[in-house]
Symmetry: C2
Subunit: 142 residues, 2 copies
């Protein structure tokens, strides 16, 4: 995934990491549904992601600094955590969801509750930081 | 591009239309730089889009209802306009740009001024409506 940027525009730089049909689906499953292991991400995914696509994207996202992977001992599966950079994709998901609900009104009612804006959205991002960054979590990031 | 949705989640529905490395680049060029014709979109693009990719995406976006194309008379090129649905992708671009500037701090200074938030962002969207929707423009859409 690491290659020469097509341009220095930040929209482009974001699309070079996030611009495909699966990457933000995986990040949604981790952020909004708390799925952290490969099998859970594979089996619970509503869009029917395949194992090779999931595997490749998890590797890419880890290399790009959006995820970290903690290998488990005793032959157990590794567990993925969002980094601060990974958490910064949540507002992108929220705007995609708003667009998706206009594009397909039938989809409007199926937004994961985590991605619903309003009220304590910022504090939910901070909860995500506590959960995924643990002691590395900044008190608050704007 | 029209096929059975992978799921009814609005994040997914958005990615089925916007989730690739080129679609939002083209929409950025139309929205932020006012490029409206095929040649201009091809030749001025900073990311080096190819003619076949541009042609295919413009057709897809027109079929999906994000763009309209007005054919010109006298052999002149057609001109693309954003629909209201197309204009609704601008907040997605803005959040992608915010992520892109965190992902690649060197990109932070290269945001098209149109996509900079703050102040009169809503009124700039309304200007886009006037410019692209003309007399069909709603007074304001939230």
């Amino acid at each position: 995934m690491i290659s020469t940027p097509r341009s220095g525009c930040p929209v482009n730089r974001a699309l070079e990491v996030l611009g495909d049909r699966w990457t933000l689906i995986i990040l949604r499953d981790i952020a909004a549904y708390g799925r952290r292991g490969f099998r859970e991400l594979l089996n619970a995914n509503d869009e029917g992601i395949s194992a090779p696509v999931l595997s490749r994207r998890l590797t890419d996202l880890t290399e790009a600094g959006l995820l970290t992977k903690v290998e488990s001992s005793r032959g157990k599966q590794g567990r993925y955590s969002l980094t601060e950079l990974g958490i910064r994709t949540v507002p992108v998901m929220v705007e995609l969801a708003r667009f998706g609900a206009v594009f397909d009104p039938q989809a409007a009612g199926q937004l994961p509750s985590f991605l619903q804006q309003g009220g304590d959205f910022a504090s939910r991002l901070d909860e995500l930081r506590q959960e995924h960054l643990g002691e590395d979590a900044p008190a608050s990031a704007g």
